[in-house]
């Protein structure tokens, strides 16, 4: 039994709330869920996440699970991956899916956008060399199409190649035949996804709603 199991520790919740931006009720709800997933233990393992039924049919479930255990997402400048995470890390990863508040400044919005895109970038860049190489990109497309049966690796390759070409031409422009495009760096990634308003699309409604009503039903 860790300290989290005692009465809702306001102090801890408050520090978490300041760090991640969630409200206290939302943190309480997520904590319940964390306890549920980890079977009342203090830390969460990969297998705990793998037991979730609904995740089975998701083509990119492994990447999603990995993202939770990826140190780069913990905002502590770490690299590599861990085997188990505590509630704080869980909450930190979840905070990437908050929606922007109604009145925020342009810089805050930009910062949020960068953070979210960084999360996405980390999901693709599995070897953590700062670029998404062609192989990694192909892997992404393969995973996306993995559920759809066999239409052949060639089409997948074709799609990944075409996408890569597009990124290269948008970011770098005309290249001589012997130049080599290493891979998509984070800046290029930002560029291609510039128009998609990621800060409003990448959010879970649940995490943004005023959950006082829900909390009363669940936390009692």
């Amino acid at each position: 039994m860790g300290s989290f199991q005692s009465l809702p520790d306001d102090h801890q919740y408050r520090t978490l709330s300041q760090k991640t931006g969630f409200s206290l009720e939302q943190i309480a709800i997520l904590h319940n869920r964390f306890k549920q997933l980890s079977q009342n233990e203090e830390t969460l393992w990969r297998d705990d996440l793998k037991t979730i039924q609904d995740l089975e049919s998701n083509p990119i479930r492994y990447q999603i699970i990995e993202a939770f255990f990826d140190r780069r997402n913990f905002q502590k400048d770490g690299v590599g991956s861990v085997e188990e995470i505590g509630f704080e890390e869980f909450l930190t990863v979840m905070s990437y899916f908050r929606a922007p508040a109604h009145r925020i400044t342009e810089e805050q919005r930009e910062e949020m956008r960068r953070a979210k895109l960084r999360f996405l970038f980390n999901m693709h860049d599995t070897d953590n060399d700062g670029t998404i190489t062609l192989e990694e990109y192909r892997h992404v497309v393969e995973e996306l199409l993995s559920r759809s049966g066999a239409l052949g690796r060639e089409t997948t390759k074709g799609i990944a190649d075409a996408a890569m070409l597009e990124v290269a031409s948008i970011s770098v422009g005309p290249m001589a035949p012997d130049e080599f495009y290493e891979g998509i760096t984070f800046e290029h990634f930002l560029k291609i996804l510039k128009g998609t308003e990621i800060e409003t699309r990448m959010h879970i409604r649940f995490l943004n709603m005023d959950t006082t009503v829900l909390c009363k039903q669940r936390c009692v």
């Binding site: 939770f68 074709g158 799609i159 597009e166 649940f206």
Partner: protein, 772 residues
């Protein structure tokens, strides 16, 4: 000069219209006029009682207008409408200031005035014609091309505006008007509450025709467009229910609570019933399109007829026909588009646009004419009060609703957005037709209603329609972004969808991503298998998108003359080389082709392409030859897959020791490598069979056989194995080549004898290789 000719023709046309009366008026009143023009059979001359028969000379030329009267007049009106539309775009400055709808109403006024001057009765926009012939094409056009994603994302907001907003508007306007009528006393005291409420319900509905006509020209951002437009479509159900409710009971003069309750139930039945009817017909249409691969010509017909049947079936039960039409179009579209040919798709698109454009024009012209014709009863108080209340109600409604809605939205609606939504609530011909349907005996104030409605319509269309464009610019409202969908965005959108679904599952929260994902999986597993023919049913969305893009580029490439100017959709400045890491030799073997050989291959392929083009040029309805650019796409995919497997096996058997440098990159080559794996590029050449070029003239062009044309963007001189028709294979590598040379020549010569006359020498463009 052009303009003067045009005006002259127009004048003649209008002049001929006048003595003929209107197309919309009933034939009975028409025959009275037409009798003077029609000539009875000149052989008979009825003298009194007897039928004496005096022989007249054989009529060489006779004038009998009566028996073509109706179609003639309809065509004349349609012609007038289209010429008007044409005319407006010839006048350069006017069309950018005044929206087309205004101009058309003015034209209608002029024509109506002219007709009245001549002493005839101008035709009125009869409700039956409006609802059965003029409205459906516009709605189908809107529904079929509705952007589903934005629509469903904003569905809550749209429904709030459509249902709650319309209710609020009706009761506010109706109630206040009743108050005004009572206050006014002498002239308006006979207007009772229910009539006022009826009037309120008719006039408060935002009109899709007017909204489309104005919004299409201002290119506003997608969110606002879908909000106002979606509202105008979905409020039909509310209008139908309120209209019938008040019309039923206004003669009785009393409404009880039971009636209100029944009204609410009726609303649910009308809207959901309409949607269900539409969905059923949509599924039927999708299912039918699965089997049309042999009769491509009538594919568009199915789309149109099923949709129209959905509309009429809904009208049989007094359900909401508009919602049925929208549901039908939206449901059938993804499946039908997967099944039909590219040409049919284009046909459907252009027919819908054409019909809706003509309908739109006719509606506005008739509005103008009806204004001149219709029995009017002007009452200052009533009309002015109506106008003011409508505007006020709209503004209050939008502001109030947005306040509530913003609590639930992520992307909040700013006050600029609210202003545009309020300002864009235009009224139009639907309101007019509904009033026209009212029975004058039950509603003695019908004429007054008519006048008031026409005033409101004119005000909204003219004033609001004209000023919205400068206001949009003034307020710097976000405009529509004309971005092309890129493959990267598609990949990341899909990735994001799955990611969000996964996070929702981890949270244990069944949010709308979860349900959307479930729906998609259900769709993929069961529905697509039933409704989509062949291999396409298993094609995931990403691949379908990618193929669509490739096809577009291929067509653009051919249209642009075969390689000289490339569309910039996919980059031609970066080639595969730039992103492929340099790998060691064994995978990148290329056949050693001498320059002369390359040239020869190139020439052969090009001549065959041109021959193919010539053959495709003539066709009739019954032997509509499959277009190389779209049919058999899936068969081609399978074949390509098989080919690749075959090549892989072969590659394992052969070893090439040389690594020739790839030919210098031209844009064409870059494109040629786009979709293919460079590894596969070099290995095509080795097959057991000798290089052959067979021309099978007897069989119709099978889709695979003209892959040559299609394949140019994909692979180099790579062969395909086909059953018949035009086939070609690249000659095998160097060591086998020399033996085959003598074989090739006679076949080439054979080819020239049997086929269409070979391409003229000037057709061969040496500087535009479409194949590297």
């Amino acid at each position: 000069m052009e303009l003067k000719m045009f005006i002259l023709v127009l004048g003649l046309l209008v002049g001929s219209l006048m003595p003929l009366g209107g197309a919309a008026s009933s034939p009975d009143t028409g025959t009275g006029h037409g009798g003077s023009h029609g000539n009875k059979d000149p052989g008979y001359a009825k003298n009194g009682n007897g039928t004496t028969y005096s022989k007249k000379p054989f009529p060489v030329l006779s004038f009998d207008y009566e028996h073509v009267r109706l179609p003639f007049e309809i065509s004349l009106w349609v012609l007038l409408a289209s010429l008007m539309k044409l005319g407006f775009h010839l006048i350069p400055r006017v069309s950018s200031i005044v929206p087309e709808s205004c101009l058309l109403i003015v034209v209608g006024l002029l024509v109506g005035g002219l007709i009245k001057l001549v002493g005839e009765d101008p035709p009125v926009l009869e409700s039956k014609i409006f609802f059965f012939y003029l409205l459906p094409p516009i709605i189908l056009d809107a529904g079929y091309f509705m952007p589903i994603r934005q629509f469903t994302e904003n569905l809550g907001t749209i429904l709030m505006f459509a249902v709650v907003g319309t209710l609020w508007n009706s009761f506010f306007v109706g109630g206040l008007l009743y108050g005004v009528c009572q206050l006014e006393g002498h002239k308006l005291a006979y207007v009772d509450l229910l009539s006022c409420l009826l009037f309120g319900s008719i006039i408060s509905a935002v009109d899709p025709v007017a909204v489309l006509a104005v919004f299409e020209e201002i290119h506003i951002n997608e969110l606002l467009h879908i909000l106002v437009f979606g509202e105008s479509l979905l409020n039909d159900a509310v209008t139908v229910v309120l209209y019938h409710l008040f019309e039923e009971y206004s003669s009785v003069g009393l409404i009880t609570v039971t009636d209100v309750f029944l009204g609410i139930v009726c609303f649910l039945v009308v809207s959901l019933g309409g949607i269900v009817v539409g969905a059923i017909y949509g599924i039927l249409a999708a299912f039918t399109s699965r089997f049309t691969s042999h009769t491509r010509v009538i594919e568009p017909l199915f789309v149109f007829v099923y949709s129209y049947m959905a509309y009429l079936s809904a009208e049989v039960f007094h359900l909401s026909g508009i919602m049925a039409l929208i549901a039908c179009g939206a449901v059938m579209r993804p499946y039908v588009e997967a099944n039909i040919s590219h040409k049919s798709h284009t046909t459907i698109k252009y027919f819908l646009k054409m019909w809706s454009s003509v309908s739109d024009t006719l509606i506005f012209i008739f509005l103008g004419v009806s204004t001149v014709a219709g029995p009017h009863q002007w009452n200052w108080t009533f009309v002015v009060a109506t106008l003011i209340f409508c505007l006020v109600a709209r503004v209050l409604g939008v502001v109030g609703l947005t306040f509530v809605i913003n609590k639930f939205r992520i992307v909040k609606l700013t006050s600029k957005d609210q202003f545009i939504i309020a300002y864009g609530g235009l009224r139009g011909a639907i309101a007019f037709s509904l009033v026209y349907l009212l029975n004058p005996e039950h509603f003695p104030m019908r004429n007054m209603f008519l006048t008031a409605i026409i005033t409101v319509i004119f005000f909204t269309v003219f004033v609001q329609g004209m000023t919205i464009r400068p206001l949009v610019d003034l307020l710097a409202v976000k405009k529509k972004q004309e971005t092309k969908r890129s493959i990267n965005e598609e990949i990341h959108t899909q990735f994001l969808d799955h990611l969000l679904t996964g996070i929702e599952d981890i949270c244990g929260h069944y949010g709308h991503h979860h349900w959307k994902d479930k729906l998609n999986r259900f769709n993929k597993k069961y529905v697509k298998k039933c409704l989509i023919a062949g291999e396409r049913s298993k094609e995931p969305q990403l691949i379908a998108f990618y193929h669509k893009m490739e096809m577009k580029q291929a067509i653009e490439l051919v249209e642009s003359g075969g390689g000289s100017k490339l569309p910039s959709a996919l980059p031609s400045t970066v080639s595969m080389q730039n992103i492929q890491p340099k790998k060691p030799s064994q995978d990148r073997a290329l056949p050693q082709l001498s320059k002369a050989r390359e040239e020869e291959i190139r020439k052969i392929l090009r001549t065959n392409l041109q021959r193919t083009r010539q053959r495709l040029r003539s066709y009739n309805r019954h032997t509509l030859i499959a277009d190389p650019y779209e049919d058999g796409w899936n068969e081609m995919l399978i074949k390509r897959k098989k080919m690749k497997e075959l090549e892989k096996k072969i590659s394992q058997m052969n070893n090439y020791l040389t690594v020739p440098a790839p030919p210098p990159d031209s844009p064409t080559i870059a494109r040629a490598r786009l979709a293919s794996d460079p590894q596969a590029w070099g290995l095509k050449s080795v097959t057991e069979s000798i290089p052959t070029i067979k021309v099978d003239l007897a069989s119709p062009q099978s889709p695979e056989s003209v892959n040559v044309v299609d394949e140019f963007s994909k692979k180099g001189s790579q062969p395909k194995e086909e059953e018949g028709g035009l086939t070609m294979k690249v000659p095998s590598p160097a060591k086998q080549r020399k033996d085959k040379t003598p074989d090739e020549e006679p076949q080439q010569r054979l080819m020239r004898c049997l086929s269409d006359p070979g391409p003229a020498a000037e057709e061969e463009d040496e500087d535009e290789p479409f194949l590297p």
